[in-house]
């Protein structure tokens, strides 16, 4: 951290609790209306985090709607247009939104290329889980890991740090504004995280089953035990032997909760729940995937409440 940035951070720390965000937002409003930075994020989760940092000075759009599978998204002509116009492009990385590479190549703007000043890979500096040591190709030096890292609220600190750096890079005049917003957001996040941790404390170590391995980071942060997955390989329906194994595990370990996302087939989850006496809990892995998950914080509010309810409701 440069001395100047450190000073700004210190200043922000001193100011943030004293001045409510609304006042400086309204003060700046007339000036920014004309000059909002256009940011394109690949997912709604990143959109929400960019909005948390950028506030009134950014206009963020997402490319993949929540509940669509970002891993096989098919880009549209408008996407190319939006990317070309963007002041900043933010992606999940970790092979999650590989289709963006094709769009960026087509847009052919040097600053938007990998390593360019308007390109942000939000997975930078994240401690990845489930790394298998198999790099997909050039440009993926870290090899693929589990890409659902935004589901650990502590990772939001790292992601917003990366976002802050990028916003300050392209809009240095407002760097302090972004820093203040980030710190205020992290304060709110930390308070909420204490509540979430408390709410899920009784679930620590309780075995659960998930439809697909999306919850590694969430599990690590809240100390949850995902003991099995219905679809061990994404896109391949479970074999009878695998289902029998899961049923046996549910009976011997007393597993009562099966976690699925809204876009994952309910039938298979329900099949297990009916046979072994459990219940299906629908969680949102992305902002907006379920009603009432409008931003990053409410995403966790919803998931934590749904899990806790599922646990206390089961016999």
């Amino acid at each position: 951290m440069t001395p100047r940035a450190a000073f700004a951070l210190l200043l922000a720390l001193l100011i943030a609790p004293a001045s409510p965000l609304a006042s400086d937002a309204t003060a700046a409003a007339p000036a920014v209306a004309a000059a909002r930075l256009r940011v394109v994020a690949t997912t709604t989760d990143l959109q929400s985090l960019v909005e948390a940092v950028g506030g009134e000075r950014v206009a963020v759009t997402h490319i993949v709607s929540p509940n669509q599978d970002p891993e096989d998204y098919q880009p549209r002509p408008q996407d190319l247009h939006r990317i070309k116009e963007a002041a900043l492009v933010v992606r999940i990385g970790v092979d999650y939104d590989l289709w963006l590479d094709r769009l960026l190549a087509q847009a052919d703007v040097p600053a938007l290329k990998r390593g360019g000043e308007r390109y942000v890979d939000a997975s930078l500096a994240i401690a990845l889980l489930d790394v298998r040591g198999s790099a997909v190709g050039p440009g993926h030096p870290h090899g693929s890991g589990n890409p659902h890292y935004w589901l650990d609220p502590s990772n939001a600190e790292i992601i917003t740090g990366t976002l802050l750096e990028a916003l300050a890079r392209i809009d240095a005049a407002n760097a302090r504004y972004y820093e203040r917003r980030r710190i205020a957001f992290l304060d709110r996040l930390k308070l909420r995280q204490q509540v979430w941790t408390q709410a899920l404390a009784s679930l620590q170590g309780v075995p659960l089953i998930a439809y697909h391995n999306n919850w590694a980071y969430f599990a690590r942060r809240f100390r949850l035990n995902f003991a099995g997955y219905i679809e061990a390989k994404p896109g391949v329906p479970p074999s009878p032997a695998h289902l029998a194994q899961l049923l046996a595990a549910m009976r011997t370990q007393g597993i009562r909760i099966i976690v699925r996302q809204p876009h994952e087939p309910e039938k298979n989850a329900r099949f297990l729940a009916e046979r072994a006496g459990g219940q299906v809990v629908t969680l949102a892995a992305s902002v907006g995937a379920v009603a009432g998950t409008g931003d990053y914080l409410s995403l966790f509010d919803h998931n934590v409440a749904a899990l806790a309810r599922g646990y206390s409701g089961s016999p």
């Binding site: 709607s65 929540p66 509940n67 669509q68 599978d69 401690a127 990845l128 889980l129 489930d130 790394v131 298998r132 040591g133 198999s134 870290h142 090899g143 890991g145 620590q204 170590g205 590694a216 599990a219 690590r220 100390r223 949850l224 035990n225 391949v236 329906p237 479970p238 074999s239 009878p240 032997a241 695998h242 289902l243 029998a244 049923l247 046996a248 809204p262 876009h263 994952e264 087939p265 039938k267 298979n268 099949f271 009916e274």
Partner: protein, 426 residues
């Protein structure tokens, strides 16, 4: 074993019921030459379901069902009315057009409501493994009623199949078929329903001339293929629907190969065996050629022989090569175990004992990557040693394969000698 039975008896029962009605419809479809009509009907039903979803009906509600059936009947109307009109264009072309347009239209609709993707999937990719008892109670009376109606109207339908009756009978046929397909595709998925429809009917056609006997043969073959598919998917831990489609395909292949046996004449049996030997010999000769031309590339035949009996490598690898190969194999396996061990430690630390901090997680990840690279290195060594040995011994290996080819199909040598003799005489 009891686990397997508890899990598989409902899918088996469902398969038998589906085979029951689809074999009959399959015979009709083959007679009318509208092979892919089920795909068009199912896709249009899915489009109807998507429309229902956009209007706010929950999945599996009466509203959704009504919309799906409405669209399927619309497709039936379209198919029945165009059957007479399309003397210039084969009806199969129109069926294809209905299918692609319905598929594309549902994607366009879903584009407006992302949650709908799951909806279309639910309609078209059933999972036979997870059918419930309730599903069977709905389809059993439905199929029985349709079968009864078709039995009553059997003469009319036979005339409409040959195109000498009113289009209303065509509509009755396509409409009732649409109802069946809409329900069966939701249970078993498009691929499996297509197999249920065409393959048992085709096997029946191969072995009998009278429709009733064709139907019975189709039923038996379909039930047997279903049982084999379910058992194989349990035994080898494979996805059920895909396995069943493959066993149905295999059943048709076997039926085709064994068909000459039906006449109980030695001559036809000999021809069949000859063709089979010819194919085997051709494969052997082709891989001999491929081995001598490109010894370092994939050798499908040699590779599969070696994976069945690794001792075969001793034939063309020297003792030192074998030692290097085996050592690399041992190390590759050791690295794999290390990767698994580290993954287990990390996964368990998420909820058990002391939580690992980010630094420790990153350290594990970098170890995982190193082990992954080392394992790849060992695999490379194995491949390289094998390629070099093959390159060195390609001539005699190729010659052996050619010799094997000649042994399986000696007629080739005889014929070649005869041609040579004829040339010399000329």
């Amino acid at each position: 074993m009891t686990d397997a039975i508890a899990l598989l008896w409902l899918p088996l029962l469902a398969s038998i019921m589906l085979v029951g009605i689809h074999t009959y419809f399959g015979m009709q479809v083959l007679a009318r030459g509208v092979i892919f009509v089920d795909l068009a009907l199912a896709q249009l039903a899915a489009l109807g379901g998507t429309v229902a979803f956009m209007l706010g009906h929950p999945a599996q509600s009466t509203g959704t069902l009504a919309w799906s059936l409405g669209f399927a009947l619309l497709a039936a109307l379209l198919l029945a009315s165009t059957r007479r009109l399309s003397s210039r264009i084969p009806q199969e072309a129109l069926i294809g057009v209905i299918y692609v347009v319905a598929a594309a239209a549902s994607f366009l609709l879903v584009d407006k409501a992302p949650q709908g993707t799951e909806h279309i999937k639910q309609i078209l990719t059933g999972n036979i493994l997870t059918v419930g008892g309730g599903d069977l109670f709905t389809i059993a009376p439905l199929y029985a009623a349709i079968a009864f109606l078709h039995w009553l109207a059997r003469e009319r339908l036979a005339r409409s199949a040959s195109g000498t009756s009113s289009w209303l009978w065509d509509f009755f046929f396509f409409g009732s078929f649409g109802v069946v397909v809409t329900s069966s595709v939701a249970l078993a998925g498009v691929l499996l329903v297509f197999s249920f429809l065409i393959i048992p009917a085709a096997i029946g056609l191969l072995y009998a001339d009278r429709p009733v006997i064709q139907l019975v043969i189709g039923w038996i073959a379909g039930a047997a293929a279903s049982l084999a598919g379910l058992a194989a998917s349990y035994a080898w831990d494979l996805p059920t629907g895909a396995t069943m489609v493959c066993t149905f395909g295999l059943a048709l292949a076997c039926a085709g190969i064994l068909r000459p046996l039906r006449r109980r004449s030695m001559a036809s049996l000999k021809t069949a065996a000859g063709v089979l030997r010819g194919v085997v010999a051709l494969c052997l000769a082709a891989s001999a050629l491929w081995l001598t031309l490109a010894p370092r590339s994939d050798q499908p035949l040699l590779d599969s022989f070696e994976s069945l009996a690794p001792e075969l490598r001793a034939a063309y690898m020297s003792a030192s090569e074998r030692a290097v190969y085996d050592e690399a194999d041992v190390y590759a396996d050791r690295h794999r175990l290390q990767i698994e061990r580290l993954n287990t430690i990390e996964a368990n630390s998420r909820w058990q004992g002391r939580a690992l901090d980010d630094f420790e997680v990153r350290r594990i990840s970098s170890f995982l990557q190193s082990y992954g690279e080392m394992r790849k290195g060992e695999e490379f060594v194995k491949r390289e040693v094998r390629s070099r040995a093959r390159e060195r011994s390609r001539w005699w290996l190729g010659a052996t394969l050619v010799l094997l080819a000649l042994l399986t199909y000696p007629e080739a040598a005889v014929r070649a000698r005869r041609t040579l003799r004829v040339r010399r005489q000329l």
